[in-house]
Amino acid sequence: MSTLQANAIGVTLGAQQVLKHVDLQVKAGEVIGLLGPNGAGKSTLLRVMARVMRQHGGSITLDGADIDSIPRQALAQRLAYLPQDAECHWPMAVEQVVALGRLPHRRPWAPMSAHDWDRVAYAMAKTDVEQFRGRSVGALSMGERARVLMARAVAGEPGILLADEPVAGLDPAHQLEVMAMLENMAADGAAVLVVLHDLTLAARHCSRLALLAGGRLVASGDASTVLSTEHLRNCFGIRAMSGETVDGPFVIPVGRVKLDA
């Protein structure tokens, strides 16, 4: 059971202040949807929280301990980060790519254990990539490759999963499957923070939403609070049609709104 907390995070890249004093908490059992227009600082916040990038102000704590005090491997065992650009530089077999997720759990020179292979098989089943097991990742479509890299992150049994646009490039069926998988992981005790652009998916599958705009945390809370008409207009510059169905809420952008200067 883990809680990852960002406290007053500030990041400056060149002359631009990308994040300004951002607080965000991700608790075990939650799927937090991180929303915001392009350039809002979502990916930067995820990078900082995954400790692949250093913040210039503020701190990240994991269960109260400063994340910088946790050894790299110990942190990697607990926290998985799925970057935005799904890439694999060599045409390795799918199973080999997923197995990379077990690296933090293996002792030096130790081979993959039966448990390691079990987790790889489980992750492949969850992301629906079992049928590609022995195929080369180079031969897969973009969406298929994205699911393989998702499986890689899941294979490490992370207590915390930070995923940057994991459903980008997926067909609708697999978008729903990935969101359901994130919810399952949270139900099993993981803390999940996921960057999304699809407002309906966010409203429907996340336990809480956080909205970033211009490097600031504008709103956080349930879907009705965060996806208010006002926020959609001011942060995204859109009008949306929203409502409830038996399956849950929906939010459909219907038009652009020009903001007054």
Partner: protein, 344 residues
């Protein structure tokens, strides 16, 4: 040492196949090593030595065997293993199949470092100066290329950075030749630069091997980090690998092993390009798995090329570096054409 790299293969399929590849490469290397001991101008007399026949003085034959053939075969093995391993490691690190100690400037910079030691005479009064000069050159050259090209840059940037460092190192080496005190000294340096394993002694093995072994150890240990790097720098960092540490160990590992090997053999190109390329599909494209296989393959190819250098030419013996360049340069062009077809 390579056993850890078997470790990610699936119990049901990968391990058997991977072990088979390593075993075949090891057998090939041993076979070529033995052939190398007996190949050359005095092939038949050396066989007489073991068969107890022939007219030659057995003591002379032992001398040829011990002082010439054995160190030569040993050097071909360890220099080849270094080039194959360093090539595979650089390709994994830069995620670029065109990386190679020669192309990225490590070899020519190491050659310049060694030339300085030969030229100043430092190598005569302190034999270790030769490998140390090579190592220093290789590390400076590699650092420059990695500064110029970085970890994420494409093939073109990398090759341009390599060209820049190669050109500069070659210019400095030419300067040394230009200022050489006598034409004989200059000729000696030129021949040495061509890359050869002829007339090497156990002294060369002794001064270079310790550095190479340390370099090999550093590089083989990087297998898992290179595996992680295949899904990108950020993903690798999130899997617990420090990119700064990886870069440092990489520079040190390649610098020590390639620097020391160039210092005793001159620049032998293309082994580090050809071998990983040929073996990559056989080990399933995983960078960590490629490291030990490429080391064995490099040893085998260098032994074979060195045997070729001795027996192919009826006149003066071919220089090994000349022979590998004659085979390797067309291969490099073939790779480039293949890449152009893939992304026109």
């Amino acid at each position: 040492m390579g056993l850890g790299d078997v470790s990610q293969s699936h119990p049901s399929e990968g391990v058997g196949r991977y072990c088979l590849v390593l075993t075949l490469l090891a057998l090939l290397t041993v076979g070529l090593f033995i052939t190398s001991l007996f190949a050359g101008r005095s092939a038949v007399p050396l066989l007489h030595l073991f068969m107890g026949a022939g007219a030659e003085d057995p003591q002379t034959l032992w001398l040829i065997f011990n002082e010439i053939r054995l160190p030569r075969a040993l050097l071909a093995t360890v220099v080849g293993a270094t080039l194959g391993l360093a090539g595979a490691a650089l390709q994994g690190y830069l995620r670029n199949p065109l990386a190679e100690p020669g192309l990225v400037g490590a070899s020519s910079a190491a050659a310049f470092g060694a030339v300085v030691m030969l030229y100043t005479g430092a190598a005569t009064w302190f034999p270790m100066a030769l490998p140390l000069g090579g190592i220093a050159g290789a590390i400076v050259g590699l650092s420059l290329v990695s500064l110029l090209a970085g970890g994420r840059s494409g093939a073109l940037t990398l090759i341009l950075a390599g060209v820049a460092v190669n050109t500069f190192a070659a210019a400095l080496t030419s300067l040394a030749l230009n200022l050489a005190p006598s034409p004989y000294a200059a000729l000696e340096i030129v021949f040495w630069l061509l890359g050869s394993l002829a007339d090497r002694s156990f002294e060369h093995v002794r001064i270079a091997l310790p550095f190479m072994v340390v370099g090999w150890f550093l590089l083989l240990r990087l297998g898992r980090a290179l595996d992680a790097l295949s899904i990108g720098e950020e993903a690798a960092a999130s899997l617990g690998y420090s990119l700064g540490r990886l870069r440092g160990l990489m520079l040190l590992g390649v610098g020590l092993s390639v620097g020391a090997s160039v210092a005793v053999s001159g620049a032998i190109g293309f082994i580090g390009l050809v071998v990983p390329h040929l073996l990559r599909p056989l080990v399933g494209h995983r960078p960590g798995a490629l490291l030990p296989a490429s080391a064995l393959g490099g040893a085998a190819l260098t032994l074979a090329a060195d045997i070729g250098a001795r027996v192919l030419s009826p006149g003066p013996e071919l220089k090994l570096g000349v022979l590998t360049a004659l085979i390797g340069a067309p291969f490099f062009l073939y790779l480039l054409i293949g890449m152009r077809r893939a992304n026109p």
